[in-house]
């Protein structure tokens, strides 16, 4: 660089192109003279945008039920389906809706009434099937949206849409947006942690569902796994002690400083910050994962699975521990809700695995005062049909994907507890009141976290992107 050192600056290739393509006039003298101006911009590792207004929620736990839980067997009670069990779904209700390739070839579409009985719970009188004996106890803490609808009819695009705002992959996930917008609360832990139930099969999960898209890479979700290595490649290799690692990092830091001086690449600083974060996580992650200190009554609350690492119950407990330590968003993934056939048996298993831990998590957050500023969301990527897939027998039925309506529930910060929003028709096929699109849900979540979803954007490839793309309306009626 030598004599032209006065123009040295922390420009990445993309920045260089962006600035110079606007002509030299756009290269502001201020940023040339004060590298700090750009540096703060790029090193958003610490720099955050901050909420647009005082947020109701500081943290979010998203309990993602992958595969699409059957709303008619859990919450959206439709006695007409039992009455008309086996009869053909009227054409006026289907109204030309496309079917998936899995049922399009079916000669008939008989309605399938739920095999499970429903009751009203709590003062709010929310409806639950017998599959949810525990969650029904916290009915008055929940707000149901029975009129969710989505654009996609298959898992991959539907999950990508609800978790990243677009059916096409490549956009930042909800948790990444929150990390980008809110910044970190605990410098020893990632902003966004992902917990996937172990040994569940079904629709595949991809890391892009918690990816950073085009946001800086430290905003991506970090998956904590059950077992010896919760975060892959975090632990020192055998034979390397902590002090070895510390001095190694120190020396690496020195070298990187030289490198930074030479090339001025801001990614070097980002990388160094991440090395140091990883080093701190070597202490903080084992601490948070060591659930043995939890008292017995807490295990009792979360249920028999709670002591088996990697189960939904253990992950729910871990989620509470993570938000307690200031992690911004925790996302649980539980596969296996894709019940095209053999639904009664399969959904019973799913509920046994998830019902008690979900209820326990909400109760546990509540008694610790955390529910007041933590938002909890439960739901899948779409719903299931009211007609059967495959043969309808006295003991068995299946349900296909249904994007036109499904049920989710929310609880906690800023949510009007004990309400049910939206309505579907008697066949549980179409929405007849207050539809809520995926982008509306996302806008509402961002609103609760203190953001105007129209303002939270990131410029990439020449235009500003939002989680809600060009759409989304905050569902004010479910806010407290």
């Amino acid at each position: 660089m030598g004599h032209c050192g006065q123009f040295e600056n922390n420009y990445s290739r993309r920045d260089f192109l962006r600035k110079t393509s606007l002509g030299l006039g756009a290269l502001s003298l201020a940023s040339l003279l004060d590298p700090g101006l750009l540096a703060t911009n790029q090193m958003s590792g610490t720099g955050m945008i901050g909420p647009h207004f005082a947020p109701k929620a500081k943290r979010m736990i998203y309990l993602f039920q992958s595969g699409g839980p059957a709303q008619h067997d859990l919450f959206d009670y439709k006695p007409l389906l039992n009455k008309m069990n086996g009869q053909e779904i009227p054409e006026s209700i289907v109204n030309g809706q496309r079917f998936t390739g899995m049922t399009a070839g079916q000669a008939s579409f008989p309605l399938a009434g739920s095999h499970f009985s429903f009751k009203k719970y709590g003062q709010s009188g929310a409806l639950f099937s017998e599959l949810m004996p525990h969650t029904s106890r916290v009915a008055d803490d929940l707000a149901f949206i029975k009129s969710m609808h989505t654009d996609a009819i298959n898992h991959d695009p539907a999950a990508t849409l609800i978790l990243t705002g677009s059916q096409l992959s490549g956009r930042p996930s909800l948790g990444a947006w929150l990390s980008y917008g809110l910044g970190s609360e605990n410098r020893n832990l990632p902003d966004f942690v992902v917990l996937v139930t172990k040994d569940k099969y079904g629709q595949p999960l991809y890391s892009r569902l918690w990816g950073n898209g085009f946001l800086p890479s430290h905003h991506q979700g970090v998956q904590f796994r059950a077992g010896k290595n919760p975060v892959l490649f975090l632990n020192n290799p055998p034979g390397v002690t902590d002090s070895n690692r510390a001095s190694q990092l120190q020396y690496l830091n020195k070298l990187e400083q030289i490198n930074l001086k030479e090339t001025g690449d801001p990614e070097i600083e980002a990388r160094m910050a991440q090395y140091e974060m990883a080093f701190r996580m070597q202490t903080s992650v084992p601490e948070i994962m060591s659930v043995e200190k939890e008292p017995e009554y807490i295990y009792d609350m979360y249920g028999p699975d709670a002591k088996i690492p990697g189960t939904y119950a253990a992950n729910a407990l871990l989620a509470r521990r993570l938000v307690e330590k200031g992690v911004r968003s925790v996302q649980l993934y539980h596969q296996g809700w894709d019940q095209h056939g053999n639904l009664p048996a399969a959904i019973t298993t799913q509920c046994k695995e998830t019902d008690q831990p979900t209820a326990a998590l909400i109760t546990d957050l509540k008694q610790r005062g955390l529910l007041e500023d933590t938002l909890v969301v439960w739901g899948g990527e779409f719903g299931r049909t009211s007609y059967t897939q495959g043969q309808l027998s006295a003991t068995n039925y299946g349900r296909d994907h249904h994007p036109k309506c499904f049920t989710i529930f929310m609880a906690g910060a800023g949510i009007k507890a004990g309400i049910t929003y939206g309505k579907t028709d008697d066949f549980g096929y179409n929405i007849i009141e207050n539809p809520v699109h995926i982008h509306d849900l996302q806008a509402t979540i961002l609103h609760l976290m203190g953001f105007d979803h129209k303002q939270l954007s990131y410029k990439h490839q020449g235009r500003r992107y939002r989680l809600t793309d060009q759409f989304g309306t905050v569902v004010k009626d479910i806010l407290s």
Partner: protein
């Protein structure tokens, strides 16, 4: 082609204006100059005037021919413009041929030319920009001077919004002493009393409210009100309609209306600058920003300090991820930003009861989290008179019944977390009955289902 020529009129029409002024100024400047060259210049300038005015007239006539322009203004504009073209051509001819007669009439012809120019120009302006354009002053929405800033609660629909409308559009005829149509709009009784059968205002019934009927008649109708002057605007009529159908209260506050229709909100927002957006508690507080230096100092003493929202003065302070040690000195550091702290989280630290006296000095503290610490009743005693606290989390502390009762005296308090403390169920029940507005959350793990 015809359109193009017509549309060139606004361009061409400005040429004669400039040339006439230039020619007259040049003639005046050279009034004592007898050089031939100067005379030629004058002739040339008047040639330009004549040619440009003729072009303006031709393009203008073509434009009129398009059929979009009619009326008196156009008539005047056309003939005055033709007048200019004729007179200026005459001036040019006389000057060119040095006709002697002209010398005597020169001044008056030029004067006539200028007068016609002013008339034609003014009429052109009226045609293009609308009548009265010259004296038009852009009108802005006149915000009402509210007693309480940004609060719709204190607005009286009648007094603040409708009465001024009546005063400007109706009262010059329907006032006390000049009660035309027997209607007096200056008194409430006058409005409610009968006018030829129906009263001026019949609360709750639009079809029997004579005033509403009259102002919504077709404007050509002989009974339309007001008979002269500007009619009531759509916005004014809509507010009047809302006011009558809601019972026509002369003192009712807008804030007491249960449901204000969306279009009324829009009208009031656009015309009166009213803000219907609900302001959160945090936006209503006015606090100075903490200094950069104070925030930096706090951060250096191991606190996370952040604004609760971008550019907000109120601060969110916690020690998450920054160790569980907190010294007396560190506690006192908080006083540097005591006015700005609104959320304070010192949970899972070794904070002691000494924090109580410090908390008392934080007037805008709304959320206090001290769970998983060793604090106890002492803190509660210090907080009795706090005015803003909404949430206190003291689960897993040494709080006991005495402390609970003290916390119950904080009138602003809405939620209190006391799981795993020494508080007894009896004390909780007692407080619950005296403070139904306070949510007390204790042990939930064993709660039986409500079925």
């Amino acid at each position: 082609m015809q359109h193009l020529i017509g549309h060139l009129h606004p361009l061409v029409v400005h040429l004669p204006i400039g040339f006439i002024i230039l020619a007259i100024i040049t003639d005046w400047y050279g009034r004592n100059n007898t050089q031939e060259r100067f005379g030629n210049l004058s002739v040339f300038l008047w040639l330009l005037v004549a040619l440009s005015s003729i072009s303006a007239v031709i393009t203008g006539l073509v434009l009129i021919d398009s059929g979009h322009y009619e009326g008196l203004n156009v008539f005047i504009h056309r003939w005055t413009a033709i007048g200019i073209a004729v007179i200026s051509s005459l001036i040019f001819l006389c000057k060119w041929k040095s006709i002697n007669y002209f010398k005597h009439q020169e001044i008056s012809m030029k004067f006539l030319c200028v007068v016609l120019l002013i008339i034609a120009g003014h009429n052109g302006g009226e045609i293009t920009h609308g009548s009265g354009y010259l004296s038009l002053v852009p009108q802005k929405a006149q915000p009402i001077q509210w007693n309480i800033a940004h609060s719709i609660d204190s607005i009286q629909l009648y007094k603040d919004i409708l009465q001024p409308v009546f005063e400007s559009k109706c009262i010059r005829c329907h006032e006390e002493g000049d009660e035309r149509g027997r209607l007096n709009l200056q008194s409430q009784e006058g409005m409610l009393s009968d006018v030829f059968g129906d009263p001026g205002i019949m609360p709750g019934d639009l079809s029997k409210s004579e005033i509403f009927k009259r102002v919504t008649l077709s404007q050509g109708h002989e009974k339309f009100m007001p008979p002269s002057g500007p009619a009531l605007t759509y916005a004014e009529i809509r507010v009047l309609e809302f006011w009558i159908s809601e019972g026509a209260s002369f003192t009712g506050l807008l804030g007491n209306q249960e449901q204000i229709p969306k279009d009324i909100k829009n009208i009031l927002t656009i015309n009166y600058d009213l803000d219907f957006e609900e302001k959160s508690f945090y936006d209503r507080l006015t606090v100075d920003h903490a200094s950069e230096e104070d925030i930096r100092t706090l951060q250096l003493s191991d606190y996370n300090v952040k604004s609760i929202a971008a550019d907000h003065a109120l601060l969110d302070v916690n020690k998450t991820g920054l160790g569980d040690k907190i010294s007396k000195n560190q506690m006192e550091q908080l006083l540097r930003i005591k006015n700005q702290i609104t959320w304070l989280d010192l949970s899972q630290t070794d904070v002691t009861d000494e924090i109580g006296e410090i908390l008392l000095q934080m007037p805008n503290l709304t959320k206090l989290k001290l769970q998983n610490t060793d604090v106890g009743d002492e803190v509660a005693r210090n907080l009795i008179n706090h005015k803003q606290l909404k949430t206190i989390n003291l689960y897993d502390t040494k709080l006991s019944d005495a402390g609970l009762l003290d916390l119950g005296k904080i009138t602003s308090l809405r939620s209190l977390y006391i799981w795993q403390t020494n508080v007894t169920n009896a004390a909780v029940e007692e407080l619950k009955s005296s403070r139904p507005d306070l949510k007390i959350v204790g042990n939930l793990s064993t709660t039986e289902s409500v079925e």
